[in-house]
């Protein structure tokens, strides 16, 4: 297995190199190249711009710039953010904890809801509860999440008022009330809407996935054997069926790991959440190329690694799978 992991890791290197070249090339094709951001700001003279270009090494041919960029990135130096006027790594370090906090909460909520519902709908296939949930998962998978965010704000911020005081029922932006001392309840209130928006489609996917996977397992011979042995139904379902059905779910979760870094763009933009998704959004708006490049490449690396992790987990949890 160690050999397999090493081989996959070695294969990941050319993959990431090709991705970085494509993304670098894309950003070069953008108007005015990386200088566009300075030109747009408008308070630089022609002479200033030329000197700036020279100092940033932006007058060199693209492949030279790429080589230099790569040389720095290997040392985890992603350069200077244009819009934030500080090192890219510092901007990311500031935002990452906020994203982790939001995504982890949404993820835990998702798991807590999706697992019991997925299991119950599979055991009670074609019951009214199953039909209801199947209908709701279709809704959850079809609703555009950015619209869901707007509707949540409309209902809980604009329409409904706080019955115990002034103001809206729930806040519609930020992580906490500015200028107030730390309060757990305040933090939770700010989490409710963004987490609801994130979890809605996430729960729908996981529930549907787990239900399908449970249904597949439940009809296996070893489940019949477990029942024939006279085991309690609860033991059959949880220990024999669920543990096997959860294997594909675990790999699905592994594949979702990059989200922990990149965040949820729509949620963070709509709820003014100071995380990675919004950082990317403003960077794209201001054409902050070093920052865009860094976020895209770190996310791509995480995607490649989480694919590997998913494969390893799958084989580790299911001994019937062999590494090739």
């Amino acid at each position: 297995m160690g050999q397999y992991v090493v081989r996959r890791l070695i294969l990941a290197v050319p993959l990431l190199l090709v991705i970085s070249m494509i993304v670098f090339g894309l950003l070069q094709a953008a108007p005015g190249g990386p200088m566009g951001a300075y030109v747009r700001r408008g308070n630089f003279s022609e002479e200033d711009l030329r000197r700036l270009e020279e100092r940033l090494g932006l007058n060199a041919p693209a492949y030279v710039q790429y080589g230099k960029w790569l040389g720095r990135v290997v040392k985890l130096d992603f350069g200077q953010s244009i819009s934030e006027r500080r090192p890219v790594t510092q901007s990311i370090r500031d935002r990452l904890p906020n994203t982790l906090y939001l995504m982890a909460t949404a993820w835990i909520v998702t798991i807590l809801i999706a697992i019991p519902i997925g299991v119950i709908t599979a055991i009670r296939q074609y019951s009214w509860f199953d039909h209801l949930v199947t209908g709701l998962t279709f809704v959850g998978q079809s609703v555009p999440i950015f619209w869901l965010g707007l509707i949540l704000i409309l209902v809980f911020y604009i329409w409904l008022d706080n019955p115990f005081g002034d103001g809206p029922l729930l806040p519609a932006g930020g992580m906490y009330t500015l200028g107030q001392d730390f309060s757990l309840w305040d933090r939770i209130k700010h989490l409710i809407l963004p987490v609801t928006m994130l979890s809605a489609s996430w729960v729908a996917w996981y529930t549907r996935f787990l239900r399908a996977s449970m249904l597949e397992v439940i009809h296996q011979d070893y489940i019949r054997t477990a029942r024939a042995k006279g085991l309690r139904e609860q033991v059959v379902v949880m220990r024999h069926a669920f543990r096997n059905a959860a294997i594909p779910l675990v790999t699905l979760m592994a594949l979702d790991l990059p989200l922990i870094f990149s965040g949820a763009l729509f949620t963070e933009v709509i709820f003014a959440w100071p995380g990675m998704g919004r950082l990317f959004f403003t960077a794209a708006d201001r054409r902050d190329y070093p920052l865009l490049m860094a976020i895209i490449m770190i996310t791509a690396t995480l995607i490649v690694l989480s694919n590997l992790l998913a494969d390893i987990l799958y084989a580790w949890l299911d001994p019937r799978i062999r590494f090739r």
């Binding site: 993304v23 894309l26 279709f138 707007l150 704000i153 597949e216 990149s262 791509a300």
Partner: protein, 311 residues
């Protein structure tokens, strides 16, 4: 399947007869199975109504969607303006109808791009195998490792601002090509798998023995056998690309104002939800209904093409 010989006229027969087609048992069987899926049929009806409302927008819409008015700004719903007017006095109801035209068109165009790339790449990889297959599958790996929303946003910025590409920014194609160009990978893998298995079949060998060229075998003999998954995936892709387009447009990176799409309308509406809640509700509801009905249709098609799938 002896019961397909039954002579009672079914809706499937009616459809087949209306098209004046030769009675194709397989197609009839699929249509019949699809019609048994009640939610899928309901989805098809809703979808047909939505498409019709977009096609007939010039007839139904009471106003020009881009006509400004200085006297009727930010008005609530009334008998003159069913959904009210926006901040420059445009009729929201008309804009939602016209927005549907662009949103649906981009969804279909992006899916066509994606189907084209996915089918060609998958077919070539699966049919020829070996080095070609290996190379193409590595290309798929690269595309699958892109954080696609981020790349879409970067590409959209390039289109919007690059001096050469900018002249096309009024057209739906740049955005359709970009979205389609990033969503063909699953389809390519699927087509590759069916080609891999079908190319070993006797009928392919027979065709080759009869002197058919590679391209003829691929298009005339193998491709029809993988039509089922292509149609199912294609249907579901339309829903996915409509969501992607409206998401991009909502963020301001997709179709540019003043052109109305469901996404740009939501973007417009978001600062005015207090005064005009319907402005924010209507376009999103249209996206939601479209996507949900397409998903149900896709579900029904999947069952119709492959009754054994359990999902």
């Amino acid at each position: 399947m002896a019961d397909t010989q039954a002579t009672t006229a079914t809706p499937a027969d009616a459809i087949a007869a209306a098209h004046g087609r030769r009675h194709d048992t397989m197609t009839r069987l699929i249509i019949r199975r699809f019609l048994r899926h009640r939610l899928a049929v309901a989805g098809l009806v809703v979808l047909a109504l939505l498409v019709l409302s977009a096609l007939l927008a010039p007839v139904i819409a009471p106003y020009d969607p881009d006509a400004l008015s200085t006297t009727e700004r930010l008005q609530g719903p009334s008998s003159r303006h069913w959904l009210g007017t926006d901040d420059v006095g445009r009729d929201i109801f008309s804009r939602v109808l016209y927005g549907g035209r662009i949103s649906l068109l981009i969804g279909v165009a992006a899916t066509a791009v994606s189907l084209l790339i996915g089918t060609v790449v998958g077919a070539i990889a699966g049919y020829f195998g070996g080095f070609v297959d290996n190379l193409l599958m590595r290309v798929v790996d690269v595309f699958l490792s892109f954080p696609s929303l981020f790349i879409l946003i970067v590409l959209a910025t390039v289109i919007r601002t690059n001096s050469v590409l900018r002249q096309y920014s009024g057209s739906i194609w740049p955005i359709a090509i970009v979205i389609g160009g990033l969503s063909w990978m699953a389809l390519a893998r699927l087509i590759r798998a069916t080609f891999l298995s079908l190319r070993e079949k006797e009928f392919v060998e027979a065709a080759r023995a009869a002197g058919a060229s590679n391209s003829r075998i691929m298009i005339r003999h193998i491709l029809p056998g993988s039509l089922g998954p292509i149609i199912v995936q294609g249907t579901l892709l339309i829903a996915a690309t409509i969501i992607t387009e409206s998401g991009l447009s909502y963020l301001g990176f997709g179709v540019q104002p003043p052109t109305a799409t469901w996404g740009t309308l939501l973007d417009n509406a978001q600062g005015k939800m207090q005064e005009l809640p319907l402005f924010a509700i209507a376009p999103g509801l249209m996206i939601f209904l479209t996507v949900m009905s397409i998903n149900y249709v896709g579900d029904g098609l999947r069952d119709a093409f492959d009754p054994h799938s359990t999902r």
